[in-house]
C-alpha cells in the first residue's frame, strides 16, 4: 500500500530529455515535463513534432539519448517495457488476431500468472466496463472499429496499471464514433482516477478530453496548459495558430504599459494589444485575434480598436457565418458571426466598421 500522494506531486517526470535517432537531428530537444497523478495529459502537435517519440520513451520502446524519466518516484530508464506496469492503447488497436476478445483482455493477467478464476472475473469486469460483456468469445476480426478500440482499452486497463498511454487511439474511427469515444474515455478516466497520457494531432480532441495539453512543435513543448488557457491565452504564434482559428496581423511593438501595449501595423495604424512573454518593446510581432472576438459594428466604447473594412466574402456554415473582410490597410480579417436572429445584414462590398478589445488581441512572436 502506497502512501497517499498530494495531487501536485509529480507522478511522471521527464528531466532534460533529448532524443536523436541518427546522431544528427534531435527529435526531442530538452524535454522537461511533469505529470500529476490522476491527470489526463494530452501531447498535441503536428506529425514529426516529437510527441509520439516522447510517449514511446515513456512506454520503454525508445531510450532517451540524454536525461532520465521518473515514474512514481523511480528512475525507469533501464526498466524494460514489460516491467514498467504501463498500459498502452495503440493507434491500430494491436489486438492479437489469433486470440478471442476474452483472451486478448486476459493476456496481461495470464503473463502475470494470475489464477484462471480471477482472470475470468477481472476480464468479465473489464469487458462490462466498456460495455462488451457479450462479445467475450468473438474474435477481433468480427468486431467493428469502435468495438475493437474498446477491447484495446479494456486490455490496457484490466491489470490496473500505474499509467495508461494512448497513441492516437481514435485516429482510425469516423468522426461521429470518434466524438462518442472521446466522451467515453473521458468518463472512464474520471471514474477510475487513472493517469492518462494521450497523444493526438487533433486539436479539438485534445481540448475536449484533457486536463492539460502539451503542445509540441519541432521537438519542444511550446506551451503546456489547461485547454481554456491554451485557447484564450496562447503564449506564442505557433500555439495560437495550431489551436483554433486565428487572424494574424504583423506589426512592431511601440510601447508597453502594464499588461497592454501599442503595436504599429505595417501601414502605420496602431492597435492596442495584450503584451505576452513572446515579444517585448521594439520587437516585430504578430497580433493574434480569434475570429469570434472580432465585432461588426460594435457599440460605442465596447472595443479598443476600431477599423473600417469592406466585406470581401461571405461563407454560410449553418450555425455561423464566416465573413472575410479587408481592412483599409490591406490586411485581411475573418469574422465569425453567430447565426442569431439579430445578425447584421451583410453583402459582399458592404462597408462596415469592425473592432476588437485589447485583451482579445495578443502580441505574439513574429516567427
Amino acid at each position: 500500500m502506497k502512501l497517499p500522494v498530494s495531487a501536485s506531486e509529480s507522478f511522471v517526470e521527464f528531466a532534460g530529455i533529448q532524443k536523436t535517432y541518427d546522431g544528427e537531428v534531435l527529435v526531442v530537444k530538452d524535454l522537461n515535463l511533469r505529470i500529476r497523478r490522476g491527470e489526463f495529459l494530452t501531447l498535441l502537435g503536428p506529425s514529426g513534432s516529437g510527441k509520439t517519440t516522447t510517449l514511446m520513451m515513456l512506454a520503454g520502446f525508445e531510450t532517451p539519448t540524454v536525461g532520465n524519466i521518473m515514474l512514481d518516484g523511480e528512475r525507469i530508464d533501464a526498466v524494460p517495457p514489460e516491467k514498467r506496469d504501463i498500459g498502452m492503447v495503440f493507434q491500430n488497436y494491436a489486438l492479437f488476431p489469433h486470440m478471442s476478445v476474452a483472451q486478448n483482455v486476459g493476456f496481461p493477467l495470464k503473463v502475470r500468472g494470475v489464477s484462471k478464476a480471477e482472470t475470468a472475473q477481472r476480464v468479465a469486469r473489464a469487458l462490462d466496463m466498456v460495455e462488451l460483456g457479450k462479445f467475450a468469445t468473438r474474435m477481433p476480426g468480427q468486431l467493428s472499429g469502435g468495438q475493437q478500440q474498446r477491447v484495446a482499452l479494456a486490455r490496457a486497463l484490466v491489470f490496473e496499471p500505474k499509467l495508461v498511454l494512448m497513441d492516437e487511439p481514435l485516429g482510425a474511427l469516423d468522426k461521429q464514433l470518434r466524438e462518442h469515444m472521446q466522451i467515453e474515455i473521458r468518463h472512464l478516466h474520471e471514474r477510475l482516477g487513472i493517469t492518462v497520457v494521450y497523444v493526438t494531432h487533433d486539436q479539438s480532441e485534445a481540448l475536449t478530453m484533457s486536463d492539460r495539453v502539451a503542445v509540441f512543435n519541432a521537438g519542444i513543448i511550446q506551451q503546456i496548459a489547461p485547454p481554456a488557457e491554451l485557447y484564450e491565452s496562447p503564449e506564442n504564434s505557433f500555439v495560437a495558430q495550431f489551436i483554433g482559428e486565428n487572424n494574424r496581423l504583423p506589426g512592431r511593438i511601440e510601447s508597453a504599459s502594464g499588461t497592454l501595449c501599442t503595436v504599429k501595423l505595417a501601414n502605420g495604424s496602431t492597435v492596442a494589444a495584450t503584451l505576452t512573454r513572446a515579444a517585448g518593446v521594439g520587437d516585430a510581432c504578430l497580433l493574434s485575434v480569434r475570429p469570434e472576438r472580432v465585432k461588426i459594428a460594435p457599440a460605442a466604447g465596447a472595443v479598443d480598436n476600431l477599423f473600417e473594412a469592406n466585406v470581401a466574402e461571405l461563407i454560410y456554415l449553418g450555425d455561423h457565418l464566416r465573413v472575410r473582410c479587408v481592412l483599409d490597410s490591406g490586411a485581411e480579417v475573418v469574422v465569425k458571426v453567430g447565426n442569431a436572429e439579430d445578425r447584421p445584414v451583410l453583402d459582399v462590398g458592404t462597408r462596415i466598421p469592425l473592432g476588437w478589445r485589447a485583451q482579445d488581441c495578443r502580441a505574439l512572436d513574429a516567427a
Binding site: D85, F90, F96, V111
Partner: protein, 419 residues
C-alpha cells in the same frame, strides 16, 4: 412521370425485369468472350500438358489390355471354367489358336511379360509354346502343352490368366502398396522379395520430412530477419535468398558433389584442421541427399513465411511487451502463432516438392536414398512397365492431394503466396 402502381412501387413490371436480364446478358457477353479468349491459350496449354497427361497416367495405372487384346479366344473359352481343375481341351485349343495370331503379330512376348509380373517364369513359358506353335501340328493340344511345360497344368496359373484378361486391374496399385491378390482374388501381403514399395514410400516421406524440418529451422530466422530489416538491407538479403533460383538444380547438385566427396573441399578442410582423422563419407548417402535438397528448397519455405511475417504489425509485439510479456513470451505467444499460416504454406510447398525429387537423390544419394520418382523413371525407361510407373505416380498424387486437403482444412490454400 410520378405514377405509382397499386402496390405503391413505381415502375418495373415482371416482363420488364426479364428483358432487363436479357439486356444485361447481352451487354456482358462481349466482355465474357473477350476475357475467355485471353485466357484460352493458357487454358488449352494446361489441359494439353497437365490435365490430360495426369488423366492418362491415372487410366494407365489400372489399364490391362495386353492379354485381353491378344488372347480373345482363350479368354472366351475360360469363361466357363470352374477354377478347380486344370482347364480342358477347348481352352488349350483356343490358346493354340490365339498363339498362332500372336506369333504372327509378334505379341507373344508382351502377353508373357504381363503374366510374368504375377507368375515368375511365365514369359519363357509363352515364348517356348510360341515356338511349338510355329513348328506346326494339330490337336489335341492339352497334352502337347503339358508336355512342352508341365506348368501349363497349374490351376493358380490359369486363375491369374483369367484375371489378367479383365480390361482393368488393381494389380499395379496393389503392388505399389506391397499387396497382391491370390488365385481366388483375396487381397493379401505381397511376397517378401517383391515388397519394396512401402519402404520406398516411407523413405520418400521421411526424406521429405527431414528436408522440410531443416528448411524450417534454417529459414524461419531468415524470414524474420527479412521482415524486420530496413528495406535497404532487406533487399540485399532477399537477393541472397533468391540467388539459388538463378542456377539450375543440376549445377547446384553437382557442386555439392565437388564440395562433399571424399577428396572434396570439405573433407580437405576437416583433415587440415584435424577435426577428423580420416575422410568422412558426406555424400552418396542420406546426409548428402538431405543437405542438397534442403539447399534447393530453402527459398520455397522462406518466402511464404516471410510474406506472412511482413503483414504482422510491429505494434503487436510492442503491445504484448507493454502488457507485461517478456521478449520471449511476446514472441512465442503473440508473434509465432500469427506466422503459422506462412509456416504451414512454406512447409507444405517444400514437402510436396520434395516428394517428387528425382535428380538430386539420383546424383548425391546412395541406393538407399532413392525416392519414388527414381522408381517411376526406372519402370518407365528401363523396365518398360508403364502400368507400375503410373500406379506409383497415382499414389504419389493421392498423397499430395490428401496433404493439400488437410492443409486447406486447417490453414486455407489462399494463404499460400510467394513474396
Amino acid at each position: 412521370m410520378a405514377v405509382t402502381t397499386a402496390d405503391g412501387v413505381a415502375g418495373i413490371q415482371p416482363e420488364d425485369k426479364t428483358s432487363l436480364k436479357t439486356k444485361l446478358k447481352r451487354a456482358e457477353r462481349i466482355n465474357r468472350v473477350r476475357s475467355l479468349s485471353l485466357v484460352a491459350p493458357l487454358l488449352i496449354f494446361i489441359l494439353a500438358v497437365f490435365v490430360l497427361p495426369i488423366a492418362l497416367m491415372l487410366i494407365r495405372s489400372v489399364q490391362n489390355t495386353e492379354v485381353r487384346s491378344a488372347m480373345p479366344a482363350t479368354l472366351a473359352a475360360l469363361d466357363g471354367w470352374d477354377g478347380v481343375a486344370t482347364p480342358g481341351e477347348p481352352v488349350f485349343a483356343a490358346l493354340a489358336q490365339d498363339l498362332v495370331q500372336t506369333q504372327k503379330d509378334r505379341t507373344t512376348g508382351l502377353v508373357g511379360k504381363r503374366i510374368n509380373y504375377e507368375v515368375p517364369g511365365a514369359r519363357s513359358r509363352f515364348l517356348k509354346a510360341g515356338r511349338m506353335i510355329d513348328a506346326g501340328g494339330t490337336g489335341p493340344w492339352k497334352e502337347k502343352f503339358l508336355a512342352n511345360d508341365p506348368e501349363w497344368g497349374s490351376v493358380p496359373f490359369w486363375a491369374i490368366m483369367k484375371r489378367a484378361g479383365q480390361t482393368y486391374t488393381p494389380y499395379y496399385l496393389l503392388t505399389s502398396l506391397d499387396l497382391r491378390q491370390d488365385a481366388s482374388g483375396a487381397v493379401m501381403k505381397n511376397f517378401d522379395d517383391q515388397s519394396i514399395f512401402l519402404d520406398i514410400f516411407t523413405r520418400t516421406i521421411w526424406i521429405s520430412l527431414l528436408v522440410t524440418l531443416a528448411t524450417l529451422v534454417l529459414g524461419y530466422p531468415v524470414a524474420h530477419l527479412l521482415a524486420i530489416l530496413p528495406p535497404k538491407h532487406a533487399n540485399v538479403l532477399m537477393i541472397l535468398v533468391l540467388l539459388p533460383f538463378t542456377t539450375s538444380i543440376l549445377v547446384r547438385t553437382t557442386s555439392w558433389i565437388v564440395l562433399l566427396q571424399s577428396n572434396g573441399v570439405l573433407n580437405d578442410i576437416l583433415l587440415a584442421l584435424h577435426i577428423t582423422s580420416e575422410r568422412v563419407q558426406l555424400i552418396f548417402n542420406r546426409f548428402g541427399t538431405v543437405l542438397a535438397m534442403t539447399h534447393i528448397q530453402l527459398p520455397f519455405t522462406i518466402l511464404p513465411i516471410y510474406s506472412v511475417m511482413k503483414s504482422i504489425p510491429a505494434t503487436h509485439v510492442r503491445a504484448a511487451r507493454s502488457l507485461g510479456a517478456g521478449p520471449l513470451t511476446a514472441f512465442v505467444s503473440v508473434y509465432m502463432p500469427q506466422t503459422l499460416p506462412g509456416v504451414g504454406a512454406g512447409c507444405l510447398l517444400t514437402f510436396i516438392l520434395s516428394l517428387g525429387y528425382y535428380i538430386t537423390p539420383a546424383l548425391v544419394g546412395g541406393p538407399q536414398d532413392q525416392m519414388v520418382s527414381y522408381f517411376v523413371a526406372l519402370y518407365t525407361n528401363r523396365e518398360m512397365n508403364w502400368g507400375q510407373a503410373s500406379a506409383l505416380g497415382a499414389i504419389l498424387l493421392l498423397i499430395t492431394l490428401a496433404l493439400y486437403a488437410v492443409f486447406n482444412r486447417f490453414v486455407g490454400i489462399d494463404k499460400v503466396k510467394l513474396g
